[in-house]
Amino acid sequence: MDILNAFLIIGALGLLLGLGLAYAAKKFAVKKDEKAEDILAILPGANCGGCGFPGCSGYAAALSAGTAPNGLCPPGGAPVAAKVAKILGIEAEETAERMVAFVHCRGNHELSQLDYKYDGIEDCNAAALLFKGDNTCKYGCLHLGSCIKVCPTDAISRDEKGNIMVNPALCIGCKKCTLVCPTKVIRMIPARGSHAIACNSNDPGGKVRKICQVGCIGCKICENKFPESGCKVVNFLSEIDYANPMTQIVQAAKACPTKCIVEAK
């Protein structure tokens, strides 16, 4: 008899609590944003922050809420933007072209002059605290690899000469390196660009000649002799206008006396 009582009590209790749970699940249900979930499934999941949101889920939520424009995801590019547009039921616009980072300097400890011997923390911003770094040229790369540390896809590496290079195939355009770099020598260029200027110095030509063998001296040969190269010298530094067809860029690169127009690869 006693055993029956126990069964009844436990059974009744179970029924009651079960009903309570069922009710709570209905009443306090967390509304899932189906759209955001779907978008999240499409985004690459790199969580690189290139869109400006805290990770892919942040951007997915913003997209679904309509608070962020489509096409901000650099690693996803056009294909992802098109899929997202489908879910949102909007037209896929022309997304901005793919950009990759490029270190605009080929100076190194052999080719360019140093002010002093730096032996502090291995970090570009730490070195920049002391006279803006050990390079006499205050525009150049400090070679301590702060960008390498922040790159989410290991696209940046140091080559055998000590130069810091970006592998454009791996770069997803998140811009983290450009934000951490103290000299702003690493900047974005269009991925389709065949060439880039490997110098960042606004120093006058005479000074550059003295302190660096591979710096742009602002001689304007590229600009004047090869108008179709897209090169234009501003502030003693040549810059490439990538909107230009750049048909003469190879000749210009050959003619550059310090060879600072280099292939971007």
């Binding site: 911003n125 605290l129 006279f131």
Partner: protein
């Protein structure tokens, strides 16, 4: 036995190496042919230029005007012509405009007349101090007239004068206390007249017994209400916070100033500059600089015009006897390493050191062994090891939550670290990135 005061928390005992120059009387450096006078020699906004290329200037003439509340005037240290206005980088990596002045060597030396000071009231004293461009000469170069302004509703309990000079090598303040004792005391009394403190204390570390004696004798002679407090030798006693703890037993809360605990702190060098400003109406255009270090042929204490190039200082001390491993402006603990001998002396340059090859310096950096020594010596009660790790991982906000901003870069942690970790460098970068 009498208890000798010091601050309690943290601190280290670096070997003081003061014997190299402590017995060298202050010598006047002959006027160099060219001076480089920067417009930013103080904490705060740089001064605005009042002169241009080609203008002639007279010794003591105002050539830069303070450009904000925390800023200071700049005066010409010599008679001559302005050769050019040029961008310079000072030893502390501050880049600013500077006058390059070609000195006119035939100019008549200026006589500074004596002005009585006893009748001046607080307003007048502050105005003169401001007009003469006086800033703290201990290194922080805070404009003195701002420091002496007692905010409404606050009163000064104690005027504490810093004669500690706890940095190794430096002996400029020590020599000043010995050679200009009366003038320093007059300077202190002028400040007392402006701030009306209840008591006046000069803190001197007891490795300078001669200075303590000289000060006491002069105080007795003049019958001034000043006490000299000998302090146990410990670095960084010369810091405001530690000095107040040691002398009047008060602690400045994080982010507050001495005046918030009713104190005004002043360096002996600044007291001397105030004396010259108020009594002689002579602007801050020269200062005493210790030129020392194992690589200097003849270490000296020199009185030099502001704007003198380090090169001129070194040549007067017969140059360096061997290639220095490091040149430092200021003391070895908190000073700045620099590389250019054209760097000028500014109002805050207490010393120029040429250090020899240091063995300790060669020791390789290894991983933190969590020994906790850095925590024990940090006078601000921080955890350098933890901060260092956070900064290494770019977690600047977390580091700020652990009061990174309280770090005053005294160097105790890095000095003591058996793993030779560059802790202060990490703190500096953490602060810079954290502010962003």
């Amino acid at each position: 036995m009498q208890r000798i005061a010091t601050f309690r928390k943290g601190g280290v005992h670096p070997s003081d190496r003061k014997a190299l120059s402590s017995s060298c009387a202050i010598e006047q450096l002959p006027m160099p042919v060219e001076l480089i006078v920067p417009l930013s020699q103080h904490l705060g906004a740089p001064a605005t230029a009042l002169k241009q290329k080609g203008d002639t200037v007279e010794i003591g003439e105002k050539i830069g005007k303070a450009s904000g509340f925390i800023s200071a005037d700049i005066h010409s240290p010599a008679t001559g012509t302005i050769k050019e206005v040029r961008k310079v980088t000072l030893a502390n990596s501050v880049a600013c405009d500077a006058y390059v002045i070609t000195v006119d060597n035939d100019a008549e030396p200026k006589q500074w007349e004596y002005h009585p000071f006893r009748a001046l009231d607080a307003q007048e004293i502050l105005a003169i101090v401001q007009d003469m461009g006086v800033v703290g000469t201990g290194g922080a170069t805070f404009p003195t007239h701002v420091k002496l302004m007692v905010p409404k509703g606050k009163s000064v309990d104690a005027l504490v004068v810093n004669g500690v000079e706890c940095e190794p090598y430096l002996t400029a303040d020590h020599r000043l206390m010995l050679e200009k004792t009366e003038h320093i005391l007059d300077g202190i009394m002028i400040v007392a007249q402006a701030t009306k403190p209840k008591k006046i204390i000069i803190g001197v570390e007891n490795n300078k017994p001669d200075a303590i004696q000289a000060l006491r004798a002069a105080i007795n002679m003049a019958d001034y209400p000043i006490t000299v407090e000998p302090l146990k030798v410990k670095y960084p006693q010369g810091d405001e916070k530690q000095l107040l703890k040691a002398t009047i037993g008060r602690e400045i809360p994080s982010g507050k100033l001495p005046i918030d605990v009713g104190a005004v702190v002043l360096n002996v060098g600044t007291a001397y500059a105030i004396f010259e400003a108020v009594v002689l109406r002579k602007p801050l255009i020269d200062r005493v600089v210790t030129v020392s270090g194992e690589a200097i042929s003849t270490p000296k204490n020199l009185r030099v015009p502001i704007g003198t190039k380090v090169f001129d200082l070194l040549s007067f001390c017969n140059g360096t006897s061997r290639q220095p491993e490091k040149m430092i402006s200021g003391g070895p603990m908190m000073g700045f390493a620099f590389f250019d001998d054209q760097t000028p002396v500014t109002k805050g340059t207490s010393g120029v050191l040429a250090l020899d090859h240091q063995k300790e310096h060669d020791a390789p950096t290894t991983a933190c062994i969590s020994c906790g020594r850095c925590v024990a010596v940090c006078p601000m009660g921080l955890q350098p090891t933890k901060l260092n790790k956070l900064i290494e991982h770019a977690r600047y906000e977390d580091a700020m939550k652990l009061n990174l901003m309280d770090c005053k870069e005294c160097g105790c942690c890095a000095y003591t670290c058996p793993a030779h970790l560059p802790l202060v460098h990490a703190m500096k970068i953490g602060k810079k990135m954290g502010r962003k």
